[in-house]
Symmetry: C2
């Protein structure tokens, strides 16, 4: 497959950044190997919809090989990259070492519990399919068990769902969870007393959606209140033992379910790479997205610490997508003896949906809210979903939910007991 | 919820039998409690399509509460029934005892490995969602790993899939698996040598689809051959250690994947009930589907040993559905002082699909084959799927597969690491 004369580009990670970088290299005079521990690309922005029974896992997970089927210079390997030997130019994987001439690190991010071990052990992150399906099972099981619980205190704790973090993931999760319970599950549980259900959104600062203008923050706040979500500002979680959430100041909220949407950091590969790290263990890169001491290594997306206007760029999909284009182009430029192009992130705007007919959006100087912003959110997410079939399925699911106030995926599927056997 | 004056009917199991019995009792002067350890009804006949990446688990699993939402005299409890106290008339469950006046046991069947512990430990049954998703992950992972395996012997073992049992489940699984590999995966794996892939169907007797006429058996055999499935008759598995399948006569087939479709028995509840058992641990019932010593207990479907024409009825959905109608009617008759009605099973015909455009069907004296039988199979299964939305989704998936030679659900989702927390 690999010819001796063609340089070899290895990309670690098939998220937004890695996938885009691979596609940008389709015409490069190089062999490309893409590595991921999963066989699928995950559309992370809709993970919260898996958790709230809106779409099925397969709707937002698409096989990497299928996406890149037509790319002749590409080889995919499903394996976990465990490290990199920068001197010998080898990526270390569970399936052996892979030599590279150029490396793109696009390993993405993982949940950052900021050292709160009890929260990590008993709460739910929202970064991968396992998180989302585990959370969906938890939510549905708690409602089911609450119906059989005669003790009102225990029952209320089962029906209390605490979402930590007022960023887009937290706001979207709280809104979707409220609608799941109040619009859908009430129909299936005639004995469910909706007044016993609490959905609490805890934010450590004084603002929801920090990147939004204050007017849209206020709209978000009031929309959540109208959906019966309790929003608490300046609330910092210090402990969660699976039965109660403890806040700084020793306030205690009895709750069985905690969703942690309060922090991300670069995936663990970044820390084990041996490369110099910035904040949130992201790998420090120069203006061309190269590791300064190893210009043959590029880092993009959540894994890269790239400062612009004095601050590291946020860990969101557009940063990864734009970085992928520059990293791939710079590798092509090196191969062709052209000068490198510096990375300049252009903010395409931000969007967050809060539920039915409700979203907020900021694009340049324009601000949108309500139904129009919601339609905008819908359109953008469907268009970005990889694969026509997935777009169709997700759209149908959403249409179904919208018109019938239903959620399609409410089966509790506890565990895959039989693991992959070899 | 339960009034003192109304009798209480408890139904254990929300499969075809239990669900139908509950619905048949919608107008009865009784309170009905339906118990199942899952919160969903599973459309088992399409499980093999989950295993072969054709449909998603949520497409064939539908919440019991949603199906029975409009039934006012019904209460659903998600819990596992562990036994029955026939003297005190109590169903024992993990969530406490539930008293009954009348009981319908509809616990269904489970995989019967006939004491082959190594096969049970290392092979895959095909009776629940966990089986099917585990098998799907296994199949996709084996192909993925084979691509990285330089040793040709190990690689061939990874690409050898042994299906045991030539009944409908075995035939359908072997056919679907062959199409998954030969029509779909080849497009994603340009380096996959299709000649290294073996799909072997082992049948202990000399016939596939024992209930079919010989002409249709022959057609099935030749259709499978045309799909490159190796069919072996008079082959009995004695051991499977995860690396090789051993047959009686000490033949050894190196293979990493074994699908066991060679036997079913009543679910374990039947054995722990303390009631008299017939073959395959099914509970012996009289002509009215009652346990002879306990006429207030009815048993239907896979769990019931009911002889007709000198043989116990097969463990298939139509038997459960028809038994449910009689059991429910007999309970209504008792309540109204009417005579009981004996059960007489009417064979609606049998159907098995072998793949694209290929199926065999026998209805009364009529036999169908090929494209027409396949359309018949398609229509009947879609019509029987519970819930309009699921029908639509499955139909769309099938249309997609059919026209584009694709399978929608090819993401390997190894494990739900975070279990339900309480």
């Amino acid at each position: 497959m690999e010819s001796k004369t063609r340089p070899h580009v290895v990309i670690i990670g098939a998220g937004f950044g890695g996938l885009n970088a691979a596609q940008e290299l389709h015409a490069a005079e190089a062999d490309v190997t893409l590595i991921d521990k999963r066989n699928y690309h995950l559309f992370q922005p809709l993970l919260y919809q898996v958790a709230t029974a809106g779409v099925q896992p397969g709707d937002i997970a698409y096989p990497v090989r299928t996406i890149l089927r037509k790319q002749k210079n590409l080889d995919f390997r499903m394996t976990r990259a465990t490290g990199v030997d920068v001197d010998k130019r080898l990526v270390l994987t569970r399936a052996g070492d892979i030599p590279y001439d150029y490396l793109i690190v696009a390993v993405g991010g993982s949940t950052n519990f900021f050292g709160l071990d009890s929260v990590a052990a008993n709460g739910f992150g929202l970064k991968d399919i396992e998180d989302a399906v585990g959370l969906r099972n938890q939510i549905l099981s708690m409602v089911e068990r609450a119906m059989q619980e005669p003790d009102p205190d225990l029952r209320r704790a089962m029906l209390t769902f605490v979402v930590v973090g007022g960023g887009p993931t937290g706001v979207e999760s709280a809104g979707a969870l409220s609608e799941l319970v109040r619009l859908v599950l009430v129909k299936d549980y005639p004995r469910l007393n909706i007044k016993e259900v609490r959905i609490i959104l805890l934010e450590a600062s004084a603002h929801l959606l920090a990147a939004m203008p204050e007017r849209l923050q206020d709209i978000t706040y009031h929309t959540l209140l109208a959906k019966m979500v309790e929003v608490r500002f300046c609330a910092t979680v210090t402990d969660f033992d699976g039965e109660k959430v403890t806040l700084r100041g020793d306030e205690v909220i009895p709750a069985r379910t905690l969703i942690w949407a309060a922090g991300v950091q670069a995936a663990s590969f970044a820390a084990t790479s041996g490369l110099a790290l910035g904040s949130m263990r992201r790998i420090i890169v120069n203006q061309f997205l190269q590791v300064p001491e190893h210009p043959e290594i590029f880092v993009i997306g959540d894994a890269a610490h790239f400062e612009q206007d004095g601050r590291p760029l946020p860990m969101i999909a557009p940063v990864a997508n734009q970085g992928a284009v520059i990293a791939a182009q710079n590798i092509r430029n090196i191969l062709q003896g052209q000068p490198l192009r510096p990375f300049l992130y252009k903010d395409p705007g931000i969007l967050a949906t809060i539920g039915r007919n409700a979203a907020v959006a900021k694009m340049g100087n324009m601000e949108f809210q309500g139904f129009f912003a919601w339609i905008l959110w819908l359109g953008i997410h469907v268009l970005r979903l990889v694969g026509f079939r997935n777009r169709l399925m997700v759209l149908l699911n959403w249409a179904w939910e919208y018109f019938f106030y239903e959620r399609g995926v409410r089966a509790i599927m506890p565990n895959i007991e039989k693991q992959i056997k070899s």
